[in-house]
Symmetry: C2
């Protein structure tokens, strides 16, 4: 499994992905699930992937080679705005489905893939999309300023509770790390290291990119303090007033 999360806040975009890929518990590997397309000052896009690795790698390869679309073969370096980038990812997904879908169905393998696409292209605002295996997509809004793919549920409650569009990028980093930590603790198939990227609004480049390993002191601190804070918080709750009766 995979867990990827993207935040869409006023100050920009925060992206986090784990790196574990597995086909059964005896076949576990590390693959980067975050792909960056960057032309500093012009555009910066990040594509995060979840699902069947053969499918997601085929989609990423299509995007690098260019996807046949309206007689052209654009890549993410060519599209003029973020919504066209999301359409291009969708077209690449449909292209892979057209080639491999029938053979996969013949083997009883689901066409399982999903993508987060985040970024900014000169002249437009930052945007965050979730592209489905059907090639269609949704977009994060100020009301729901995050999107997730993969093993999404364990890490969702903290985002539901604490994240708003006005959350700062620094606080956003804390939130995605806490969200990932909850997922790592509850699902062994989501694994370290994890890849973080920060794209500040208007920067038109990756503001920060960091691979966080087991040895990362800050992530250690987040995990320990968060666990302690949760324990303290529940211990400090009073006992039910109706318990004695």
């Amino acid at each position: 499994m995979t867990y990827c999360v993207g935040l869409y806040v006023r100050e920009g975009l925060v992206l986090l992905a784990d790196t574990r890929t597995n086909a059964g518990i005896d076949h576990v590997s590390t693959f980067g699930k975050m792909h960056i397309v960057e032309a500093p000052g012009q555009r910066v896009l990040a594509l995060l992937t979840a699902g069947n690795l053969a499918i997601t790698q085929a989609v990423v390869a299509r995007l690098q080679e260019g996807v046949w679309l309206d007689g052209n073969r654009p890549t993410l370096f060519d599209v003029g705005q973020m919504s066209h980038a999301a359409q291009l990812v969708g077209a690449a997904v449909r292209d892979v489905f057209a080639r491999d879908g029938q053979a996969l169905a013949g083997q009883g393998v689901a066409f399982d893939c999903s993508f987060l696409l985040a970024g900014e292209i000169l002249g437009g605002p930052p945007r965050l999309y979730l592209i489905y295996s059907a090639g269609n997509f949704i977009e994060a809004t100020e009301d729901t300023p995050f999107l997730q793919i993969g093993e999404v549920k364990y890490g969702k409650p903290i985002l539901d509770r604490a994240l708003t569009f006005d959350t700062s990028l620094a606080d956003g980093i804390k939130l995605v790390l806490v969200s990932m930590d909850s997922t790592l603790r509850s699902n062994l198939t989501v694994g370290m290291p994890i890849d973080l990227a920060l794209i500040a609004a208007g920067a038109l480049r990756v503001t920060l990119r960091r691979r966080i390993t087991e040895e990362d002191g800050y992530f250690h601190l987040v995990r320990e303090r968060w666990a302690a804070a949760l324990r303290d918080a529940y211990l400090e709750l009073p006992a039910p007033d109706w318990l004695a009766s």
Copy 2:
């Protein structure tokens, strides 16, 4: 959907179930999912249900009428120990599958049901089981002192982090309420009111049973304090030391 959780701790058993049943978002009803079998001083058992309501009601009806087993027709009032009670629930599930499974499959409806069975029978210790739709089951242990059915993921991280076999019943109540609160916030198909039961070890009766509604002052307090504690905890985390660089 449903969320039911059972804790198996040194002091006894804590059980919590929501009451929402839905078939599509325009058909939402309230049904109790917690069924108590009690002969004070002799035995106390609680059965919590998740899945297709027609199936789980058929299983509960079988258990009330008695399940044909080895030439007898025992109910949960007749079995001599908790493991036999779990087998009886499994036998009832298999009986319903034998009658309805083919017709359901013909309509493309999955045989979707699962059960938590908790209780104590005179002469034996308290026990907590999860019975699957195949009629087989697992048991909670001191190492993993909780079991869940239904929409289990949102409420799992806090249990993974904070619950141990030595957690008190009073603290256990807090934990299942926090776990339910996380689920309620993140999944609209899990709904209030919620049913709580406490079975203290050795009591051989229901120690406490309470339907918690939207108006319950203590649950309000838990929800508000927990949300505030999470927000405070994440805000108090320092910013990453590598963010400035």
